[in-house]
């Protein structure tokens, strides 16, 4: 029920967005090895406090954005396009 400040559309209701993934992770190289791919595919942290997440504004501009959110208070600390310069 919180608001996400979409960099393109302004503050919009959370219901317009879909959660995507943990934005602190990066996709391993194709040949990074089984352990790296296992971690990427299955391991997730469940941090308490500030967290970086990918959200997509599916019912708006469809941009993927990086949202920094406090998982305790739901405070949104920042929101920026996932792809720089867009």
């Amino acid at each position: 029920m919180f608001l996400i400040p979409c960099p393109h559309c302004g503050p919009r209701a959370q219901t317009e967005f879909h959660y995507g993934d943990d934005a602190r992770r990066t996709r391993p190289a194709d040949d990074a090895g089984a352990d790296a791919w296992f971690d990427f595919t299955y391991q997730r942290d469940n941090p308490k406090g500030p967290h970086r997440e990918y959200w997509q504004h599916v019912a708006g501009c469809r941009a993927w954005i990086v949202v920094e959110r406090d998982t305790v208070t739901h405070e949104i600390l920042s929101a920026a396009p996932a792809k720089a310069g867009t």
Binding site: G33, T41, V58, H74
Partner: protein, 966 residues
């Protein structure tokens, strides 16, 4: 209305309303609640208690009511657990009491009261759900304990939701809320003021105060009129704020027609408002708390403020002789009001040894006896209170006081619920014996009594009389006996102590173990008292005990209101293709495919579904059929790096795909399992059209957008959904080319080989033709502007008249694809990889792609994995069923004896017109390589059937694909 005072009250004596309670007819006045009308008729007994079936009467005068829960009937509805205290009376209202059998006055279940020692706190846990004890007790307990029964009939009422924004939302139109709203509105801010009652004024409706020379209700109404006249103010009555969520989103429920005998047309019964406010002012007031004493639950025992409300607002003569029991000044006014209304006050019993200030003097003036330093130690009565015993707090002989009304005040607790829901902290005020709002996390403030501040002049800015009374008073140790802490849940002081002794020290454990505060009232008059008892038992402060989380809703909300208009067809959005109307007019029966509605089959005279789909599928194999495949996801991909995107998301190679050609592609998920499939056509040098399955279109688009934004931002290409812009028609069957030749221009169909793409026109409209076959026949897919779909569809049908062209639906499409061994999401079920689906060779391309690394895990390359196979019944006739488990012969002989190891399961089945028998696709351990020709037994444990089947190739029909290339 034997107990109605001769005059006074905010009721319209000119409008008599008839109503029925438990089958008996009564009368009330416009302005009554069900509770006030029952009391005015002398009906004291309104319910039976939750666990012990003790007789209970009205205890409060608002949402905090723990006892007077009734079932409202009539107007086609049955609403259980409605509070009589907030149910506005209307002419013809019908209500019945709850939790009694056979009748309210003769309740045989009251035997529970005698068995009380067997029903202690934690009874449910102690009898061990599922254990022999529970098995014995369950039917009896389930029947005996509880609330009203809901209805299983459809809800005939309509509800809606509304979204609103404002600068200031003021919750509560009592003195503080009115003042706050006027101040904000005068400043030019957009203001919403919401009041749960039908009238504004809050405590002014019964507190007999004067403000600026006017009586309270008149003053409040004048303020409301001033507000309503302002353009920047929205005033909603009968509207409760029930939830406070993040970013100042407040949920309200507006009861629009519940107070009317007949609802106007085109008006929803209730409306939920979602209000996003810049700031919120919580003027939610305070809720009076009781004092505890033995048998304090007898009908006739009620909160002192509630007693004043029934006297002053509803002109109800509550009894003939009253005892007022208090620890603070506020109940003195109650005693004075009772006396003024002609009710004898036997005594005011005050816990405080030496109450001072102006109130004791006023009491003396009115000739009312004051028993200072006393507490109540007993309460006599049955279906009504007969008397109490008061004894000195320091010990001493108890004095009996005959009475039929006990008005109790343990002080007033700020209604901090919304403040706490919003994430605000609470601070325990020892003097007040309650929590006050502390620091906030969101943009809201509390005002007035909601902060524990009760000075009316200061709150309103008006010149007021000298009627302020302090709610501050000491706590009391209840005398031994059956002391009810939580009336709604039948939680006693002994239960709270027992929980403490048994180690349930945490306030959250206390709540769950005893059910304290878990009733429909959510402990509004019991949580604080229970926590105080717990604190005493722990020998700690109330602050150390703390409070359980405050959660929405503040007061019960009907499920219908929460659902709003999103019921029936609106429960999930239904997507319909451009041809939907044609299908409907031509005998189609429909099936849901994701959010889409698709034709399942077109029934002709007297046909069953199976008749129809077998006919349709056979017709495609013999002649030509057309199908609406508009629901396929279509993603337009453009940009110089479009090919690179395809290379990275598909397992197979697209580098060799030439302009004007199409190719089947398989996508994996990052975990290496199959994600989605479809064909992608190259329309230009840097222009592709990707199709996806119907169900995964949105997800696949979202994943492509994710990769382009997050993983590969360097790729210069853009993906756009064109699913709804393009309708699509499959034209399939040996005569499909002949049919299209008649209607298409701009193309020589002999120059369109298998998997080619051509720009064509149909009646002058530009379309795209793809030679793609899902059915395995010579077939095409025609993509055309959605608005042109029906014209093209009917043109195809009429042009092909000589060919007997016929539409076919999803079921026939399924039969055709199962005959060909094509997979859908029944097989791509999130557990299968490319090799499992017989598509392993597609993944041989030496290029990185999504899912490649994980697809090489040992578990996914194990030869014993379940893999796609075909099944035919060995008797050539027996049907399969989706989800059937595949078992060994030994495990079904002589009959299946579960549990056994399953070797796999049937994913799809159909009757095959081509083979003339039922066929199935299945996932079987080891796949075809290990099982070709083997016999397995498909078992439906629910239906109890076993089908003996032979394992065959999943490519039942034309395995070499000669027909589609023809």
């Amino acid at each position: 209305m034997s107990n109605r005072l001769a005059d006074g009250g905010l009721i319209d004596r000119g409008r008599r309303l008839r109503f029925r309670f438990d089958g008996r007819g009564y009368e009330g006045f416009q302005g009554d609640t069900l509770a006030s009308a029952l009391l005015a008729n002398g009906a004291r007994l309104v319910g039976r208690s939750f666990k012990y079936h003790r007789p209970r009467g009205v205890f409060a005068a608002g949402v905090e009511e723990p006892n007077a829960l009734v079932t409202l009937l009539g107007q086609g509805r049955r609403e259980p657990n409605a509070r009589a205290t907030t149910t506005e009376l209307y002419d013809g209202l019908v209500a019945e009491s709850q939790n009694r059998w056979p009748a309210l006055s003769v309740d045989l279940m009251a035997v529970n009261g005698l068995l009380a020692p067997l029903l202690p706190a934690g009874f449910y846990y102690k009898t061990l759900f599922g254990g022999p004890g529970w098995r014995f007790f369950e039917p009896w307990v389930r029947r005996a304990a509880g609330l009203g029964k809901g209805s299983t009939a459809p809800d005939l009422d309509r509800y809606d939701h509304k979204y609103a924004h404002c600068e200031v939302l003021v919750v509560g139109a009592g003195p503080a809320g009115l003042a706050a709203a006027l101040q904000a509105a005068d400043g030019g801010e957009r203001v919403m003021l919401v009041e749960q009652e039908p009238r504004v004024g809050g405590s002014l409706l019964w507190d007999r105060r004067t403000l600026d020379g006017r009586d309270g209700p008149a003053w409040a109404e004048a303020q409301a009129q001033a507000l309503a006249a302002m353009d920047n103010v929205t005033l909603l009555r009968r509207t409760s704020a029930f939830g406070y969520y993040d970013d100042n989103l407040v949920a309200l429920v507006e009861r629009r027609t519940d107070h009317l005998a007949a609802a106007p047309a085109f008006t929803t019964r209730q409306r939920v408002w979602w209000v996003r406010a810049k700031r919120v002012v919580l003027a939610t007031g305070a809720i009076e708390q009781p004092l505890l004493f033995p048998d304090n639950d007898r009908p006739g025992v009620m909160l002192a403020g509630a007693a004043r409300a029934y006297l002053n607002r509803w002109a109800v003569k509550l009894g003939s002789r009253a005892v007022v029991y208090t620890n603070n000044d506020t109940a003195y006014a109650c005693a004075l009001d009772l006396a003024a209304a002609g009710i004898e006050v036997a005594a005011l019993v005050d816990l405080r040894p030496a109450p001072d200030g102006p109130w004791p003097a006023r009491l003396a003036e009115a000739g009312i006896a004051l028993l200072a330093g006393h507490r109540l130690v007993g309460c006599r009565g049955g279906q009504s209170v007969h008397g109490v015993e008061a004894a000195p707090v320091n010990g001493g002989a108890a004095k009996p006081l005959g009475c039929d009304l006990v008005a109790v005040s343990g002080g007033w607790a700020p209604a901090v619920h919304l403040h706490a829901q919003a994430g605000g902290r609470l601070g325990y005020d020892e003097a007040l014996g309650a929590y006050r709002p502390g620091p906030v996390r969101q943009a809201h403030e509390s005002v007035g009594a909601a902060t524990g501040m009760f000075e009316l002049g200061q709150i309103t800015g008006a010149t007021v009389d000298d009627g302020d009374a302090s709610p501050v008073g000491p706590g009391v140790e209840p005398a031994p006996g059956k002391v009810f802490v939580d009336l709604a849940d039948d939680v006693t002081a002994a239960d709270v102590e027992l929980a403490q002794r048994e180690g349930y020290r945490s306030v959250e454990h206390l709540k769950r173990y005893t059910t304290l505060g878990m009733g429909a009232d959510q402990g509004k008059t019991s949580n604080l008292a229970g926590q105080s008892l717990s604190a005493k038992a722990r020998a700690e402060s109330n602050a150390a005990v703390g409070y359980p989380s405050f959660r929405p809703p503040y007061a019960p909300v009907t499920i219908g209101a929460l659902a709003g208009a999103d019921v029936g067809l609106r429960f999930v959005p239904q997507r319909r293709t451009a041809l939907d109307d044609w299908h409907r007019r031509h005998g189609a029966i429909f099936v849901d495919a994701g959010h889409w509605r698709r034709p399942r089959a077109y029934l002709r005279n007297g046909e069953t579904l199976e008749d129809a789909y077998v006919r349709e599928a056979a017709h495609v194999r013999q002649s030509v059929g057309i199908a609406d495949i508009s629901t396929l996801g279509k993603i337009d991909i453009q940009g110089p790096d479009s090919l690179e995107l395809l290379q990275r998301v598909y397992v197979n190679d697209f580098a060799s795909l030439k302009v004007g050609r199409a190719r089947y592609g398989l996508m994996l998920r990052e975990d290496g399992l199959a994600g989605d499939d479809g064909t992608t056509a190259r329309l230009g040098e840097h222009h592709y059209l990707m199709t996806t399955t119907t169900g995964h279109a949105e997800h696949t688009l979202s994943r492509l957008e994710y990769h382009l934004a997050v993983d590969w931002p360097e790729l210069r290409c853009v993906v756009t959904s064109v699913t709804e812009q393009w309708a699509a028609i499959a034209v399939a069957g040996p005569s499909s080319r002949d049919l299209l030749r008649e209607v298409l221009d701009g193309v020589d169909l002999d120059d369109v080989p298998f998997l080619a793409v051509a720009d064509v026109t149909l009646d002058g409209v530009a379309c795209r033709l793809f030679r793609i076959s899902y059915s395995g026949e010579l077939a095409y897919e025609l993509h055309l502007p959605a608005g042109f779909a029906e014209a093209a569809w009917t043109r195809l049908l009429s042009a092909g008249d000589g060919l007997g062209v016929a539409p076919y639906g999803m079921e026939a499409m399924g039969a055709l694809r199962i005959e060909k061994g094509h997979v859908t999401h029944a097989e791509m079920n999130g557990q299968t990889g490319a090799a499992d689906l017989g598509l392993g060779r597609m993944a041989k391309a030496a290029k990185p792609h999504v899912g490649r690394a994980m697809s090489q895990r040992p578990a996914l390359t194990d030869a014993e994995r379940p893999a796609l196979i075909g099944l035919v019944p060995t008797d050539g006739t027996t049907d399969f069923k989706g989800g059937m488990h595949l078992l060994r012969e030994a495990d079904v002989t002589p009959a299946p004896s579960l549990p056994v190891d399953s070797l796999g399961h049937v994913t799809s089945w159909s009757y095959s017109p081509a083979l003339g028998m039922p066929i199935a696709l299945a996932l079987l351990n080891g796949g075809l390589a290990a099982n070709d020709g083997a016999t397995v037994y498909a078992h439906d444990p629910m239906g109890g059937r076993v089908v003996r089947a032979r394992v065959v190739s999943p490519h039942f029909y034309d395995p070499k694909g000669e027909r589609q290339r023809g």
